[in-house]
Amino acid sequence: MILAGVKVLELGAGAAGPVATKVLAEHGARVVRIESAGRPDFLRTLFLRQNEHGLDGSPMYVLLNPNKECVSLNLKKPEAVDLVKRLVEWADVVCENFAPGVMGRFGLDAALLREIKPQLIVASGCLFGQTGPQRSYPGFGGQGSAIAGFNHLTGWPDREPHGPYATITDSLSPRYVAVAILAALLHRRRTGEGSTIDLSQIESGVYSLSELVVRWSAAGDSVGRAGNSSETCAPHGVYPCAGDDRWIAIAVEDDEQWSALVGEMRSPELADLDRFAERAAVDTRLSAWTAEQEPHALMARLQGAGVPAGVVQNTRDLLDDPQLAQRGHWVPLRHHPLGEMPFERAGFRLSESAGGLERPGPNLGEHNRAVLGGILGLSDAEIDRLIADEVVS
């Protein structure tokens, strides 16, 4: 595995933190999460009322943390903080997404960790970053997506904003955390120097939306909700298909694709229409044509004719998708106590260093002995004493 030998210590909670290191663990990095039973990762608590397995019963936690190890330490105890510092000496990378100041209150702020080990890479990835007047704002991904602009951009012009399903800064920002960590690792291989990374989930969202900022700054153009319409493609929309809540996306980029679509529709009279000026009329005709057809068969037919088209896939479709199956996107792994679940590969494959998912997300404290004994060299008796003293808890 390409990152074999890279050692990552992770602190924090929620989705954005663990997603950043998931791709590292998938490619061979050893990722050790520090958690605690007293203040559990809220991802572990999401399903508390719906399952009998307590903090080990959250599918979301388990699915977003594969290949990782978990040691449970009560950081209110100085002895636990000392153990973290010893793990810092072991690690190449510390990755955390607590609110700003939390690591400092534990006595583990980035500057101090870099003093312990100057060649360390410390990555922090909270909502607003480590500095600035609003750094302590206590939001989650839902707030981050709205502040960064994604909600305002998603939905229909005549209706309220939505935001893309789920919380987009939670899926977007961790990819940038991983980018920064890997760039810092490359830099360190060449120079021996460590790095400190201060990432704001909102800022990495705004960076992605550079087009929005540039259009506003250059021309006072405020991009807003536009349904599924496009400035450069027509027709460009989501059209009904046969069945309950079945739809297909069709995006015509040029005249060649338009004449192919018109040919499939057997409506040559549409070919001469101004497809941009007559968007609404075209959409009506297209909807009437798609409405009687099975979506996957229609996609295959249109793609066969060179027209970009894709089924609006629901969750069942995704799990049955032959393309994702061929790519090995889903990796079935058995978790105790939840049973078998489909885990997800990253968005890319390396041709000669495949990587892979081998273990589901860890149960709380599952690797206490493997980490404290195996990495720090503590004896079983010492670990028993730490458990009795509630340092390990």
């Binding site: 789920a166 940038y176 793609q303 970009p308 995704l318 890319f348």
Partner: protein, 407 residues
């Protein structure tokens, strides 16, 4: 100032789906050379244009996505253009393209051929569905990928078709994901010397927006549907006097303190009815509420938010630690005091366009090698002489190539 990727050279060729990856590498300090067809890539240099009139040199999306890159023009359909591409790749660490490996193999400048002479080369393909599998040849931009990746089905109002974000979130996820793969391949190369192929699927990148929802479905068998401005049973989007805010009535220990703080705020403004002030939040669970009780609860919050502005609500939320946020538009983002304080925006001068334009300068603050925009996007063929000259081509030869339409 040197970036973390100082000394790494990247050849980027292809459409908008790979542009953010190239920008990230450039902003990290890599020397990124964008290859366009002669006359410029008119699809990537798309509308809107600065000043309004169609002019590929004034494409605002192009200016936004091609910072920190140099630009050359090469006709990859000509023998001479392909030969020059191969010579550029021979001096590069990474080729980043969006047509897939086969299209370059067909031109005789594929990965396997080029790596014979240059074992360290890393080749990254960003395509809609990845390089193998039954959909490998399928076409698709943002809308098709957002549909096939599962997000659209759950985004939008239940009484309307599924809907997407007006700007291409599929490309936004694939950008950093491609860079992750590229940097891993570069790290691996340090060990064994050999580069490899990074095969990015826009669809698989898009699936990550679901944050493991399909895997959870396998356990719970609950199919999520479009719920408009709601999340589950409760409202997330609320109208204010001048726009919308997000605010959740969801329960759970992490959220209940902020609900109490909101009721306190409402009470201080004389807008908390008696039943709300006396409500017991310790066992609050919106999923257990009767329909009528939930309606009454939402009505009280809705009336309060509707009487205030986004800014007023957000300023109080900051003071009172309430999980409320404005649905910002471009102006509100650019003026945001927190982002200003952290100097997120940098102004680039475009004297030839008579403009000065603000760009986000970084995706993270990194020390000692900062991430930042090092130059504005290139004009069509702006660096032909500089880049091809470094391959040993003289002025006369360059002029000849331009006349033949290779550049």
């Amino acid at each position: 100032m040197l970036g973390a990727l100082d000394g790494v050279r990247v050849i980027e060729v292809g459409d908008e789906s790979g542009a953010l990856a190239g920008k990230i590498l450039g902003d990290l300090g890599a020397d990124v050379i964008k290859v366009e067809p002669p006359g410029g890539d008119l699809r990537a240099r798309r509308a809107p244009f600065l000043g309004g009139a169609r002019d590929p040199e004034r494409s605002l999306p192009w200016l936004a996505l091609h910072t920190s890159k140099r630009g050359v023009t090469l006709d990859l359909e000509s023998e001479r253009g392909r030969e020059l591409f191969a010579r550029l790749a021979a001096q590069a660490d990474v080729v980043l393209e969006t047509e897939g490996r086969a299209a370059f193999e067909a031109r005789g400048i594929g990965f396997e051929r080029l790596r014979e002479e240059h074992a360290g080369l890393v080749w990254c393909s960003v395509t809609p569905f990845g390089g193998d599998g039954p959909y490998a040849g399928y076409r698709g931009g943002d809308l098709v990928v957002v549909a096939m990746g599962g997000n659209a089905a759950m985004t939008g109002d239940p009484d309307r078709p599924p809907v997407r974000c007006a700007l291409p979130t599929a490309f936004y996820h694939a950008g950093p994901e491609a860079v992750i793969g590229i940097l891993m391949a570069l790290l691996g190369r340090e060990e064994g010397g050999r580069g490899q192929h990074v095969d990015v699927s826009l669809q698989e990148c898009q699936l990550q927006t679901l944050l493991s929802q399909p895997g959870q479905f396998a356990v719970h068998q609950r199919l999520s549907k479009r719920t408009g401005g709601k999340l589950g049973r409760t409202r997330e989007i609320w109208p204010t006097r001048d726009g919308w805010v997000t605010f959740g009535l969801r329960g759970g220990p992490a959220r209940i303190p902020n609900l109490l703080a909101t009721v306190q705020y409402m009470d201080e403004c004389g807008m908390a009815p008696d039943w709300l002030r006396e409500m017991d939040w310790s066992s609050y669970d919106p999923n257990a509420l009767e329909e009528g009780d939930l309606g009454r609860l939402e009505g009280a919050f809705a009336a309060f938010f509707a009487a205030r502005t986004m800014r007023e609500l957000y300023e109080e939320a900051l003071k009172r630690r309430i999980l409320l946020a404005p649905c910002n538009d471009a102006r509100e983002i650019v003026e945001h005091p927190q982002l200003r304080e952290r100097e997120l925006f940098v102004t680039l001068e475009y004297p030839e366009l008579g403009a000065a334009i603000e760009h986000p300068d970084f995706f993270a603050k990194m020390e000692p090698r900062p991430i930042h925009v090092s130059r504005r996007a290139p004009h069509i063929g702006e660096h032909n002489a500089e880049v091809l000259g470094a391959l040993g081509l003289g002025t006369q030869e360059l002029e000849g190539l331009a006349r033949e339409g290779v550049l």
